[in-house]
Amino acid sequence: MLDILLSQLASGLVLGGLYVLIAIGLSIIFGLLGIVNFAHGVFFTLGAYFALVLYQYFGWPAVILSPIAVGAIGMIAERLLIQRLYDKEPLISLIVTFALALLVEASVRLIWGGIGQPFSSPPFLSGIFIWGPILITKYRFAVFLTTVAVLVALWLFLEHTPFGRILRAGSRDPEMVGLLGINLPKVLTWVFGLGCAISGIAGVLAAPLWTITPSMATNAIMPAFVVVAIGGLGSFAGAVIAGLMVGIVSAMTIQFWPEASGAMMYIFMALMLLLRPRGLLGERWERFE
């Protein structure tokens, strides 16, 4: 029994890692822009589709090019649409980003069709590792390592670079940052692009595991919102901890109560919010009070 529990734990950590990547972009965008981005899932979808197309031309470098392309599209979306929502009611941004999600999904369907697209992991990552009682596939292990690398790089970027400091300051007091002579609108465009690119990375990593379809974001965006709610809106560390917890809870529920596997993350969220309404590491944000 111990072997299967440890393997389930490993599987849950990988799934949780993917949720973290989607949720972290969502959390950064909310923290800095104040926008609850319902269109975030479609950037995950675009990451998978771009990887599929770019792979045909560039081979495996497509896994790097795809998130960059997704980030660029995110920046265009911010300049054309999202930046008009900053001083509007939250309800308007919800409706507009939801409409954007529908538009992008319909466009994907128009370009690539409704049927699933085949895409496999690279041959050198096929096969499984068995370490004592733990079984994990090489590809999932690579996904986990990539997730950790992306999160560490992002943390270093936010904590130890001048740009990261501007972002953190801007999230707390955008007016003051503007008075210091920093072009905040330009910074926000980059932030939105960064959030979308991270979601694109999750899409690329999920492409060999999930079926690539125009509606694949549906399976990703709800867990991402759950992760953000549990971790605390705008909290980097909260999203990481919550994502891994959600992955593990899902995997363990499948082991012991499979019928409830779809619902358990929501029950878990409800319990967590009852205990701590702002989420695990959620703080009081003056801007949104």
């Binding site: 999904e105 409704g114 699933g116 085949p118 496999s120 499984i128 596939t137 595991l209 509606s215 019928e259």
Partner: protein
């Protein structure tokens, strides 16, 4: 007082009566469509969600069936009105809209069993012929049957009975992994009955929520249970995702996987490296035994869409064809005349003929048992046909169950 015109003298009362009679004439014969109005047929197929990959092909086949007739039915222009079926509730609302606002004379569709079960109940209330092209839940033409509902897809229980001997060849320890909605629950129930009949053991069962993105935890459980064979009941995108992860976890070729009613689009989405399993399906574009009319359809589809006709395209085409043939034969949009026409419809398909059984309105079609090729060289051609079921064409009626076994009471 009379209205007088040169050469014509009519009492005013008679004139008014004549005018009134002319005005109400169309009401006296409501089912004879006026020349100016096109004949409208409703289409209820999901436009989004996991099943949309299949419904795209169902719709393509349906529209092609009308285009083959130059968009004419009963000598009049005809059109298809396609509304979405995102959920059973929204599907029935759209069905009502098709009948009451769009004035359709019949409806094609029913992409998911849960939708089709709700739609067929409403078809009965609205007294509108409903020809279901995809849903396979046994009850559609079983205990929930009604006079207005016809169905193409072979019921789950029948397909499962056809597939079970193939599963039993691998052993008597079965593991079930099925979706937790009507289609999957139906498969689980039928498969358990078949397993019990051969004295087998269920070594594990997982009822999986729809749109599950990660199956690795389920696959780890299957691996630990060491079954002789896994009997699946996952639909569309869920099946594709499962098979991808089945291969990723090194299970392809280790434990056999069998499932009924695979769609070509499901396996195309898996990709040649990961595809695996034995399945039942209704039709295959590359089957040399397809009758000439189906071969012509497959060629026309390829010409129009640049890719082979998936089984779902054929399913859309043949159900639409059955309805369009019927309308041309009965030359009426009266619901009961269409129902009677569909009951009499026949299509010659080589050794057998397709037709709807009168007592349950189930189309009788032989199924194919197919296995994924060991090496796939053509990105569309994944299967070897292992058998046509039932092997004796004369057994078709028996395999689909007798009137007493089916439990359909049309009333």
């Amino acid at each position: 007082m009379t209205v007088t015109t040169p050469g014509l003298v009519l009492p005013r009362r008679k004139l008014l009566m004549g005018a009134s009679a002319l005005a109400v004439a169309p009401l006296a014969a409501p089912h004879i469509a006026r020349a100016a109005d096109p004949i409208r047929i409703g289409v209820l197929l999901a436009k989004t969600g996991g099943i949309a990959a299949q419904t795209e092909y169902l719709a393509n086949g349906t529209f092609l069936a009308l285009e083959e007739r130059k968009n004419m039915l009963m000598g009049q222009p005809a059109e298809l009105v396609w509304l979405d079926e995102p959920s059973p509730q929204a599907a029935t609302q759209n069905m009502q809209k098709l009948v009451q606002e769009n004035k359709v004379c019949a409806i094609l569709g029913g992409s998911l069993s849960s939708n089709a079960l709700a739609e067929e109940a409403l078809a009965k209330d609205l007294k509108i012929p409903f020809v279901c092209d995809n849903a396979a839940a046994t009850d559609i033409t079983g205990k929930n049957c009604n006079r207005y509902t016809f169905r193409l897809n072979t019921p789950v229980a029948v397909q499962q009975a056809m597939l079970s001997p193939f599963a039993a060849k691998f052993g008597k320890k079965w593991y079930h992994i099925t979706s937790s909605y009507a289609f999957g629950q139906d498969i689980l129930k039928s498969s358990r009955e078949n397993l019990k009949a051969i004295g087998g053991t269920e070594v594990g069962v997982d009822e999986v929520p729809l749109n599950t993105p990660d199956y690795s935890s389920f696959i780890l459980k299957i691996r630990a249970a060491k079954p002789d064979v896994v009997v699946g009941g996952l639909a569309a995108g869920d099946l594709s995702t499962f098979l991808k992860q089945w291969n990723e976890l090194g299970m392809k070729g280790k434990i056999p996987f069998v499932e009924i009613a695979i769609g070509d689009t499901d396996i195309w989405a898996v990709g040649p490296e990961a595809a695996d399993g034995i399945f039942t399906k209704l039709w295959w574009y590359n089957n040399p035994n397809n009758p000439p009319e189906e071969k012509a359809f497959a060629a026309e589809y390829l010409k129009k869409h640049g890719k082979p006709a998936a089984d779902k395209a054929w399913m859309g085409w043949i159900t639409a064809k059955s309805l369009f043939d019927t309308l041309d034969a009965v030359k009426s949009t009266d619901a009961m005349k269409i129902v009677e026409g569909l009951e009499a419809w026949k299509f010659s398909a080589g050794q057998t003929a397709y037709s709807y059984r009168k007592f349950d309105h189930q189309m009788l079609v032989r199924n194919l048992a197919v296995q994924v090729k060991p090496k796939i060289t053509d990105k569309w051609d994944y299967f070897d046909v292992k058998a046509v079921l039932p092997e004796n064409p004369a057994d078709v009626d028996k395999v689909f169950g007798t009137e007493a076994e089916i439990g359909c009471k049309m009333g």
